[in-house]
Each structure stands twice: as structure tokens, then as C-alpha cells.
């Protein structure tokens, strides 16, 4: 009886909790790929990309970035920007790019979600193992209620934006090198 009489209030509370709270939805690799990335250099070399530090998104977890999706997004961005001639799998590329996700700070509740990300980028020349680049790349991504009303979507969008910005900054740092 009490529940019925006060249903509008209770429903409002439940709806608010569900909308502001977050739950599982993995970051999408296409949405993590920077679009229209232009770089100043086009290296005549092949590149192997390896990633680490990512995590799968569990059923009751919040949005994460998996190693496979991060790798695919970086490879797609390299191909589209023509930063390197080709992407290779295995160990026979001219250069090896290692990108490790070292920190992904996500809010658990709120209206506007801002996600902070840090990755460690290192580029190694395969032939002599010389390190051409070692860089910490810190970025953030924000999604508001205007971007998505459901928290689960909003958090995923913030993670994707942080990753997209991160890949863009990392590849621009690579493009500033003289290989």
C-alpha cells in the first residue's frame, strides 16, 4: 500500500539511481580511433604494435579498454594517417611500438563523467633494439548528459574520448621523431 501510494517518488529514486550509476559496456574500438588524424611525417618503415595494461569489461564492471581493442584502434589510426607504411604482426617489423595502459581513472557516479587516462608509449628499432621514444601520454575525456542520458553509455563515451585523445597525442609524438 505504502509502495503504491508513493510509487512516483520511488520510481523517481530508482530511475535516478539507474541513470546516474554505471555498469558494464566495453569501449568500442572504432570510437577509440581518432578520425582525420593528420601527421607531418610518413615513415617508410613497417610497424609492429603491442599493447598491455588493458582489461576486459566484466558483467558488473564499468567500461574498460581491452588490449586487443586498443591495439586495433592504434593500428587503424596508423594506417589511416599513413604514419608508417605497413602494420605487421609477429616480430619482423622495422619498429616496435609498445603502448601500456598505466592508469584509467573513472567516476562511479554523477552527471558529467570525466575519465583520466595515462599510457606509456615506447618505440624501439627492431634491428638494434635502440629506443627512439619513451613517453608518458596523459589525456582525459568527458561526456555530459547531453551526449547520453544513460550513465552506462556516458561512461563508455568518456572512456572512448580519453582513449581517442591519447592515441592522437601518442602518434603525434611519434610523428615528431626523425627515424
Amino acid at each position: 500500500m505504502i509502495l503504491t501510494a508513493r510509487r512516483p517518488h520511488l520510481l523517481a529514486v530508482v530511475a535516478l539511481t539507474l541513470l546516474l550509476g554505471g555498469c558494464a559496456s566495453p569501449a568500442d574500438r572504432a570510437a577509440m580511433t581518432p578520425q582525420n588524424l593528420t601527421v607531418s611525417k610518413h615513415y617508410p618503415y613497417s610497424l609492429r604494435v603491442q599493447t598491455g595494461g588493458g582489461a576486459e569489461t566484466g558483467a558488473m564492471d564499468s567500461s574498460n579498454v581491452s588490449d586487443a581493442d586498443l591495439k586495433a584502434a592504434i593500428e587503424d589510426a596508423v594506417v589511416h594517417s599513413k604514419l608508417f607504411t605497413t602494420i605487421v604482426q609477429g616480430s619482423n617489423g622495422d619498429y616496435e611500438l609498445s603502448v601500456r595502459l598505466t592508469s584509467l581513472s573513472k567516476p562511479v557516479f554523477g552527471g558529467t563523467f570525466t575519465v583520466d587516462m595515462e599510457t606509456a608509449w615506447s618505440l624501439t628499432k627492431t634491428s638494434d633494439r635502440s629506443v627512439a621514444l619513451r613517453k608518458s601520454v596523459k589525456t582525459s575525456g568527458t561526456a555530459t548528459m547531453g551526449d547520453a542520458f544513460a550513465a552506462v553509455t556516458r561512461l563508455r563515451m568518456a572512456v572512448e574520448a580519453a582513449t581517442r585523445n591519447n592515441i592522437e597525442q601518442g602518434l603525434k609524438a611519434v610523428a615528431e621523431l626523425n627515424l
Partner: protein, 144 residues
């Protein structure tokens, strides 16, 4: 007042129902060009609001044979690595450490040489000491 309490109870119930399952994650990775065994002196950069986690990290690293100093200021010159961390806490009956990320960094460039992360939700919570032990042990397991 009663109505407010009922609403709060329902809010709590919904929160528990939507976030209460156990999630466990423990990962670590070391940069391919890094050699952790060569890092003999480290500086744990204390987060200003933290009152104990930095001590647990320092003690654990000392057990690995590392000479460790701590502080909130910039790292002193001459250390082989700077250790930074992010500890995220949550309340469920009592406060517990939900997530701990530790980075071992190059003191000159801030580059993360090695990283470890552990995430345990309430039902499988670990004590702060256990969280630190798990993260640091996983980092050293990942070292060449």
C-alpha cells in the same frame, strides 16, 4: 522523515543490487626496455591526503631489497625510480580499498617503467597491506 528513510533504504538496495557482485582484477606490466633489478633506490611520492598507503608500499619495496625514501616533495636527485600510486576507496559497511594502481617511473622523464593494478570489490575485498603486496608482487613477477 520516515518517507526520507524509506527512500534512502530503497536507494541503498538498488545500489547494492546493481553494483554488489564481486569483481576481481590484478594486472601488471613492465616496459620491454626496463630492467627492474637495476633499480636499487626508489622514492615513493606520497599523496598529500594519504596517511598510510605510502608506508605500506615503501615497506613492501624494502622487502624486495630496494632502498626507499618517501615524501610529498619532488624526488631527490640520484634515485633510480619514483613510485607513484592511486588508491581508490569505497564504503560498504566499512571503508575498504577498492583499487590500487602503482607506477614505477623514470625520475628524469616520468615515464612509467612498470605498472601494477588490483581491483577487488566489497565481497572479495583485501586489506590495504594485501592490496599493496599483490600489486608489487605482480609487478616483480612481470619483470625480466
Amino acid at each position: 522523515m520516515k518517507r526520507l528513510l524509506k527512500l534512502a533504504a530503497l536507494l541503498g538496495l538498488v545500489t547494492v543490487l546493481t553494483t554488489g557482485c564481486a569483481v576481481n582484477r590484478a594486472t601488471a606490466n613492465v616496459d620491454p626496455s626496463a630492467n627492474l633489478s637495476s633499480l636499487k633506490t626508489m622514492y615513493v611520492k606520497r599523496v598529500a591526503e594519504d596517511d598510510n598507503t605510502y608506508n605500506l608500499i615503501a615497506d613492501k619495496l624494502r622487502s624486495k631489497g630496494v632502498t626507499v625514501s618517501t615524501g610529498t616533495e619532488a624526488a631527490p636527485s640520484g634515485v633510480d625510480a619514483v613510485v607513484t600510486y592511486i588508491d581508490k576507496w569505497m564504503w560498504d559497511m566499512t571503508m575498504y580499498m577498492l583499487e590500487l594502481t602503482i607506477n614505477i617511473r623514470d625520475p628524469k622523464t616520468d615515464f612509467p617503467l612498470a605498472t601494477g593494478n588490483s581491483f577487488h570489490t566489497s565481497l572479495t575485498r583485501l586489506s590495504p597491506t594485501e592490496m599493496v603486496n599483490e600489486v608489487v608482487d605482480n609487478i616483480y613477477k612481470g619483470a625480466k
